[in-house]
């Protein structure tokens, strides 16, 4: 379970990324965070694994206040949190398999990892993750030879290989076309259902949020302005979150099926 208690974050330049955020995220939930760009969605997600560090409050993960963690504990915590990025962030010149294996680095001793000595179990895990996102035949292809959608699925496989309790996804479909976006979202949803991995995703497309989320958190100017199950959400809710009428750009468009 993840719990934000009065969490605030002020960037060194004085910009307030989060303002007194209070929220509880239950195990196994599939949460979509919506809001305009600059609303603090990314800061919210990155606070959880402390790629950015909140300046105030308590962030409780599995019963412990992670903001007090030192470097070593932070690494332990990050092992349990997989992350997916808008631009995939794969190492372009490495093979897909090796990229996926980097998900095991936290579990591998430095010496072994320097020589690339991943255990047989790790390799099987990596291959398994690849087949779960239907891309195992590309295992030995260089990452930069894949399409955007394929790269994003590799990055899901990388996160899966960590065997995480949580998956964070920061605008995972913003660089993809509509059909590919739906494939990626379906993969994430399926993994969430099958493995019970708590999943938190930033999206700015309203229709996609409605289609996949269990629960929606709305953010504006660093504050949570809406939090509720998807069944309670209407177009009106989004207009409140965005502070303006809904536009064509806010929709991704449907899966062509």
């Amino acid at each position: 379970m993840i719990e934000f208690r009065n969490v605030s974050l002020t960037y060194p330049n004085g910009h307030q990324g989060l303002k007194n955020v209070n929220v509880k995220i239950n195990p196994g939930e599939f949460i979509v965070v919506v809001g305009l760009s600059g609303a603090g969605k990314s800061t919210f997600i990155r606070s959880i694994n402390q790629l950015v560090k909140p300046t105030d409050g308590e962030l409780i993960i599995d019963g412990k206040n992670t903001l007090k963690y030192k470097e070593r504990e932070l690494k332990e915590m990050r092992k349990n949190i997989g992350m997916i990025f808008q631009n995939y962030n794969l190492v372009n010149r490495m093979s897909v398999l090796r990229n996926v294996l980097t998900g095991r680095l936290g579990h591998t001793s430095t010496i072994r990892s320097l020589f690339g000595l991943f255990s047989q179990e790790d390799k099987e895990l990596a291959m398994n993750s690849l087949s779960r996102v239907n891309i195992s035949e590309k295992a030995y292809t260089r990452a930069d030879q894949l399409s955007g959608g394929q790269q994003q699925r590799v990055s899901i496989a990388r996160a899966l290989t960590q065997q995480p309790k949580y998956i964070l996804a920061d605008e995972p479909v913003a660089s993809l076309d509509p059909p590919t976006s739906h494939i990626v979202m379906k993969d994430l949803k399926r993994i969430n259902r099958e493995d019970g991995i708590t999943t938190i995703i930033n999206l700015h497309f309203i229709d996609m949020a409605m289609e996949y989320a269990d629960r929606i958190i709305g953010m504006r100017a660093g504050e949570i302005v809406f939090d509720g199950p998807v069944s309670t959400v209407t177009e009106k809710t989004f207009e409140q979150i965005y502070g303006r009428p809904i536009k064509e750009d806010d929709l991704r468009g449907s899966d062509d099926e």
């Binding site: 694994n49 790629l51 990025f85 962030n89 190492v91 980097t102 680095l105 936290g106 320097l114 990388r158």
Partner: protein, 265 residues
């Protein structure tokens, strides 16, 4: 054409004009000094250029004494290549930590790193050769040391530029997965930079082959010493043959090197 018909206002460019005037003045002074102070008298030579050219590049092919020496010359050239290769490879490895030290995105003291590398680069390689010959004695060993240290300057600088150009977001992904600092560098940075690093090292090898042909003149091994001695003795046929050996070998290496570099990056 009357001026009144010209509607365009010329922009006020007095400052620019002043700059040009200043540059012009500096260049005039520099060239004035260069042309008046340099002793450019033609002292002449007992031989006509035509004769020298013929003795350099034509006669060697018909001179059995010189032809008998070709294996010896090739031996010198092999030593030259060995100096360049050993020096470049060591420099290519030693330059890696310097590159990381001098790159803005991996080092807090990158100014220090850049300073060291610029310092090394500002010493002409002959100076390194002199210092090493004087301290460890004559021979190719001194040449390897000179080439090895001198090449760190350029390679370290190029490496740093490569490191500065990499995609740092990848590192964030590895960090988010729980990798430690060493692991992030090994899996995030190294795969991104290895092809460019190797390409630059091979390129530097081309330069070092040329350098090691001349280091012989201060006693640092290679074909330079016999070449200079032959030229001092006006033995143009021998000089010519050695030049031919150098040109052929350097050309072959350049071609190979260019092919390999094309395939790497």
């Amino acid at each position: 054409m009357s001026k009144a018909n010209h509607p365009l206002h010329k922009p006020n460019n007095t400052k620019l004009k002043m700059q040009y005037a200043l540059i012009g003045l500096i260049m005039f002074v520099l060239y004035y000094i260069a042309l008046t102070m340099t002793d450019l008298t033609y002292r002449g030579s007992s031989l006509s250029p035509g004769t020298v050219f013929k003795r350099l590049f034509w006669d060697p092919f018909f001179n059995p004494d010189i032809q008998a020496k070709v294996p010896t010359y090739i031996g010198y050239m092999v030593e030259t290549l060995a100096i360049a290769y050993a020096g470049t490879l060591i420099a290519a490895i030693l330059a890696v930590p310097f590159g990381f030290l001098a790159a803005r995105n991996t080092s807090r003291v990158h100014h220090v790193g850049k300073g060291i590398l610029n310092g090394i680069r500002a010493f002409p390689e002959i100076m390194f050769a002199i210092i090493f010959v004087a301290s460890v004695g004559m021979g190719p060993y001194a040449g390897v040391l000179a080439i090895g240290i001198n090449s760190i300057g350029m390679l370290g600088k190029l490496y740093a530029e490569v490191i500065e150009s990499i995609d740092m977001k990848v590192l964030e992904a590895l960090k988010a997965g729980g990798a430690n600092r060493l692991q992030t560098i090994w899996y995030g940075v190294i795969p991104q930079v290895i092809p460019e690093f190797s390409s630059y090292a091979i390129y530097r090898f081309e330069i070092d082959v040329r350098s090691s042909t001349i280091l012989g003149i201060v006693g640092a091994g290679g074909i330079g010493a016999p070449l200079i001695i032959a030229s001092m003795q006006r033995n143009w046929e021998a000089v010519g043959m050695m030049l031919i050996v150098i040109i052929v070998v350097v050309t072959i290496i350049d071609i190979f090197s260019a092919q390999i570099r094309k395939r790497i990056v």
